[in-house]
Amino acid sequence: MIDAVYGWLDDRLNISGSGRKLVNKIFPDHWSFMLGEIALYSFVILLATGVFLSLYFIPSSKQIVYTGSYVPLRGLHVSEAYASTIALSFNVRAGLLMRQMHHWSANIFLGAIVVHMCRVFFTSGFRRPRELNWIIGVNLLILAIFNGFLGYSLPDDLISGTGIRISFSILESIPFVGSYLATFLFGGQFPGSAIIPRFFIIHVLILPAIIAGLLGAHLALIVRNKHTQFRGRGATEKNVVGAPLWPTFFAKTNGFLFLVAAVTAILGAAVQINPIWLYGPYVPYHVSYAVQPDWYMGWLDGALRIMPSWEIHLPGHMVPNAFFPAILLPGVTFTLLMAWPFVEQRITGDRLEHHLLERPRDRPHHTALGAATLSFYFVLFGASATDVLANYLSVSLNFVLWFFRIAIFVVPLVIYPMTLKICRELQHTPGGGKTKRHNIVLRSPEGGYSTVVSQARPGDEPPVLEPVPLDGPELVGAMATGADRRSSGPLGAAATGQGGGVAGASRARGVFRIPRSYR
């Protein structure tokens, strides 16, 4: 039966030709290559739960009197958006579960994007020919953040309304065009009645369509460029070693889809998220304390909180305070992120193709820079909870504020040399970072004790380094980059020692013009 259907389709679509090639695609196998899949499957979960929610959500700012089942709100004036979100939470079967799964999934989606981006960054997977895919990935991150914020805003509850109010002011803070942009997006002054329907269409249609399109391009470029791989198992710059798409990778990745869905469903069922019935409807002159945006916007909120109250007064124009942490910071952040592959090419002078990944320890400065940058944004995220931290730690809010104002500079400065040191130590440690072999304590019949080391497993021995010919013709081509890189490291230098070590190593550095400072 399946054969018959397949044959019928194949006759008309010729799927076995291109399909065979597709199912034979080789995917290098490593657990860290599955991080992007978390994001992919979270996106699938977001679409599925989001469609369910859109059946019940009413995207309208129209004020109605709440008469639903939640008693503390009965008789209050609320928007239809808020009332319908309450109704779908309390009166629709599985509605609250779907809403909570949708929200948790958004948090996981963004988390997975960031973790995936970190993997690509720390293993240098963004280098030629994959710069384009890196840029697409950064754009996916930006769009996901925006869409998360829009979704968070839709229920029109007290704290999301406060968030929209802040975003209106942030838009207004853009020099010269800000007030026009803000009134253009909001259809007039804040709050107006246009914002919920507009956000809804952007949230459920426009941005998901762009995200899906870019996601397709992101995956197509992986197919086109091939997946990167770690060294070992015979992997070289000229091959891809791994499992074929069908059946191995397909089975594994589908199992993984279910695992990600399970994590999301468990969180959605067991842990409360965004209990908007506690927050009440948004009223422009009401505000609650202890509110923050979702975590992926948290670093912006933290930046807003710890920014000193500076403004720039130009003749006839004032650049408001919110501009620096809320427009300039993300602008610089994402511009630098997108430009990073090219910036790095300028620094290292390395414009060759790379298909083998670097271990983070093999590029200590690169890794240290990434870790310091991450810590910077993590401190900002922490700063979005200044009041909550002050309350829980029973310290003065002013102290916490100043703590973060100092930590934002100190923490990255500490993280950088720490990471650098760890990387260099690992480089010098054969088998460093790997599982240590167990010591087995034996007791003899006479009662004496002795210790032996457990049997070696693959990978337990220190790596056997082979001399790398430095003057060979293959050095000129794209191939030898990875091996040669390592030969200029401490271990490699030792290995090439008999063949004229130091001179060879420095010459190798010359070929790629990698400044000492960035190794």
Partner: protein, 295 residues
């Protein structure tokens, strides 16, 4: 014993000695200061053995002298260590004692919630004593003022959102204010405490008189705070403390994404590659693009 080890013992010891000495000095001073005005001021003669509508003034006086007079003075007239309690009203005294704010455990910027030192009758005795010294202030609410049967809880929620949430947060979890002050959590408070706090405005909190919040409106707020704010039947699973999405973010990142990472680690390949030069797997030529797959 090396010098370093010696120092390790001596320094904390010296710190403790200094702290004790300082404590003795400060406490001694406070007793002198608190004691002196009463001695100089025999005019404050207490109407002994009288009973007020709250309780026994004599009992209250004994308790007050034992626990309160050190800072507030024997006649509740205040000192450098504590404010005057004269004409503060019964509600203030009752609130500060029933929340455990007073007596202070330590001289912080603002007292914290703790189990009250006195039982109900003792509190009323102290109230009787302090209110007997000078009239005025807000009285302890009558049962009618706290009758929540007809109170409008939705209106109470609306007013709570407007007047209380800016400091106590919309979930009543409480939060830190500037300069070491904080808005205490509102979970587990009694109707009388809410009434007294709103009307008297303890610590940093502004008082709300009956022209700002009418008695009926106040009953609504009390009903919301005492019956709904903890949301005994709030659905959705484990509450993350009602401190906003930052807690959700931490759970989403470290539990949600973290669990997915563990799943990836479980499902994905994690063998040590570096030395395993000739493992399994199939090869594919990266230069071939889509065309180049071969089994």
């Amino acid at each position: 014993m090396t010098t370093r080890a010696l120092r390790r013992v001596l320094v904390p010891f010296a710190v403790v000695v200094l702290a004790v000495a300082l404590g003795v000095f400060v406490l001694g001073r406070s007793h002198v200061q608190a004691g002196s005005p009463a001695m100089e001021n025999p005019g404050i003669q207490l109407t002994a053995s009288a009973a007020s509508r709250y309780g026994s003034i004599t009992e209250g006086r004994t308790l007050f002298e034992a626990s309160c007079s050190a800072c507030h003075g024997a006649g509740a007239q205040g000192s450098a260590l504590g404010p005057s309690l004269l004409a503060r009203g019964a509600a203030t005294i009752d609130l500060w004692l029933s929340t455990g704010w007073m007596p202070l455990a330590e001289p912080t910027a603002q007292p914290v919630n703790k189990p009250p030192r006195f039982d109900r009758q003792q509190i009323l005795d102290i109230v009787a004593f302090v209110t007997s010294l000078a009239p005025g202030g807000v009285s302890i609410p009558s049962a009618a003022a706290l009758n929540l049967k007809t109170a409008d809880v939705a209106q109470g929620f609306d007013l709570f959102s407007l007047n209380c949430a800016p400091c106590h947060t919309i979930t009543g979890a409480g939060d830190a204010l500037a300069d070491g002050y904080h808005a205490p959590p509102l979970h587990g408070v009694t109707a009388r405490q809410v009434y007294e706090a709103v009307r008297t405005g303890p610590s940093n909190m502004p008082p709300f008189g009956p022209r700002q919040i009418t008695p009926a409106q106040l009953r609504g707020i009390i009903k919301y705070v005492t019956q709904e704010i903890e949301h005994p039947a709030s659905p959705g699973g484990i509450s993350l403390g009602g401190v906003g999405p930052v807690a959700e973010g931490f759970v989403g990142l470290f539990v949600g994404t973290g669990a997915c990472l563990l799943a990836a680690f479980w499902v994905g390949d994690r063998t040590e590659r570096e030395d395993d030069e000739h493992g399994g797997g199939q090869e594919e030529d990266p230069k071939d693009g889509l065309e180049g797959a071969h089994v």
